[in-house]
Symmetry: C2
Subunit: 300 residues, 2 copies
DNA sequence: TCCTATTGTTGTCTTTAAAGCAATAGTGAT
DNA sequence: ATCACTATTGCTTTAAAGACAACAATAGGA
């Protein structure tokens, strides 16, 4: 029995919910799938699918087995790709996922350059602040704030990701410069919303963490919109230095400095990380992109 | 092409270093293996093996692919076992790995009981202080000091693993009781050697770590031998409370207490952990053992 | 409630792919 | 240089999967 083929058949049946539909996807008669899946069930000694003429659905073991099968087929495909592309020029589809702010400001310009360097690589870029499940074959490279998720994923520190407080000159003129962090509780706040929730204003004084958030004027996961509001003098904003760079240079926003530094999390090493699967570094397109991005961003 | 079969063939050829030997392991003529491996190479578009009539060895890609293949075949086998054994009574070979000290004192007595509870489970127990690669199919359950290795492995905290300093009454009579941790540097030391190296005497005073190790009399990874030396009054020993329990009860050794507690590492949460792969908990024999050990040891 | 369209299974034949076997060619050691 | 062993190749045999048709079962509509 060709177990692998049986597994692929089974997998497709689960996904389409039908033997007939799955069969047409493989261009074989439904009887083949029926037999192969039956063989598989026999060899496993368990019923994977509950069939009726109208509806096909997974049993409890079937669900467990299906998950395993997905993972195995995935690894097989990745291994295949690794070997096939070994020592060839970088090419093919490269899936990159990035935080939205970082993507706009920094990644996209670099990717244009990357594309001219490697014209045979087709970029497939998606922006999201949620961490897509790297390794589940969703993306080849991910760029995220925070820290490394697990061992099989390599994380390269690209740049600092510490949040700094800023306000417009007009806001300062109207409300005065806060002399110390505690006074911030009296000020209007524009809050960036991370996937984990809104980011408070935290301050570490003598080993003690204090929440010094002021009343909220606006909360959003859209950085530019908050920045615009900050420019209008609607409140104080905490965001990353790289996201605010253009505003700070033009003087539309100015950094507020305090004796005790502010943060948005108690975790100290906030940074932007480039993430990829260790094994996939052997695939030329992945290696090319990782090397390129690290060289271009890290030196900066 | 039955890719899986080809992969198994390839794998065996690598391991035996010969097509003929591998063929006899499968009870098929060598020509079959030759063809299947050739098919595989064709589908991958790469040469996996460097053949001559005398020796067969891996190419560079071959090595990479071989590693992948091992992992995939392994997962396949595990998945198969999970499904096959789903909802059956616990049975089969259960491989347990444990730290030597813990194994002698605590694990073995419990396992006797476990065996009578589950007579159909064949125990395969090995003792070592090195962490075997859980997940590489080497062991089903591991017991180790320290902390969890990675995400795919579940760690259950069984009991405290903090080291305490002890000495025999005769030693104390001869050298006097050290009044504070700093004085330990003047005392003879019996040092337990962990896989990471000998374990120093450390002391945290007001947030500062100090190495207060005294001159070494003996260093070993053999706990009982060190304990015997300690009983003979040859020096001060630091070991875990559970390893020393019998000596403390009989009064052969007494615990030395200090204002600032001693440790052998700066890491605070030293504990004994039971480790197993999350997925494997679905296999009855693994579930039975994990549940049994946790219940019996954790409550203790 | 009955009918019908759709879907999964089963039987039989055909096709494809792997196993078996014998012969050949190449390589490292004596 | 020869010998012994090993991988490969050509050809035949055997096993397994595909193809097609007929059948059985079920959900939905009349």
């Amino acid at each position: 029995m060709d177990q692998l083929r049986a597994m692929r058949y089974f997998s497709k049946v689960v996904e389409t919910g039908s033997f007939t539909k799955a069969a047409s996807a493989f261009n074989v008669p439904p009887s083949s799938l029926s037999r192969r899946v039956a063989d598989l069930e026999k060899s496993l000694g368990a019923t994977l699918l509950k069939r009726s003429t109208r509806i096909v659905k997974l049993t409890e073991v079937g669900q467990i087995y299906y998950n395993d099968v997905q993972q195995i087929l995935n690894q097989l495909a990745q291994s295949h790709e690794t070997v096939r592309s070994y020592q060839t020029t970088p090419m093919g589809r490269l899936r990159i996922s990035s935080m939205v702010g970082f993507g706009d400001k920094i990644l996209l310009p670099l990717l244009d350059e990357f594309s001219t360097l490697y014209p045979q690589i087709v970029l497939d870029v998606s922006f999201s602040d949620e961490l897509s499940t790297l390794g589940r074959d969703d993306v080849d490279i991910a760029i995220r704030g925070g820290y490394a998720p697990n061992e099989r994923v390599l994380a390269i520190r690209l740049m600092d990701n510490g949040f700094i407080p800023v306000a417009s000159p007009s806001y300062i003129e109207k409300h005065g410069i806060p002399n110390n962090a505690m006074e911030l509780t009296q000020h209007n706040g524009l809050y960036f919303k991370a996937p984990t929730g809104p980011t408070p204003w935290l301050c570490n004084m003598n080993g003690q963490w204090h929440d010094v958030s002021g009343p909220a004027v606006a909360i959003s996961n859209n950085g530019p919109w908050l920045a615009k509001k900050a420019c209008n003098g609607e409140g104080i904003l905490m965001s990353t230095r790289w996201a605010l760079a253009s505003y700070l240079e033009s003087g539309k926003l100015v950094e507020l400095k305090f004796e005790h530094e502010l943060a948005i999390t108690q975790h100290s090493d906030m940074a932007v990380y480039l993430l990829y699967q260790k094994q996939r570094y052997l695939v030329p397109k992945v290696k090319a992109a990782v090397d390129f991005l690290v060289e271009r961003i890290k030196v900066k």
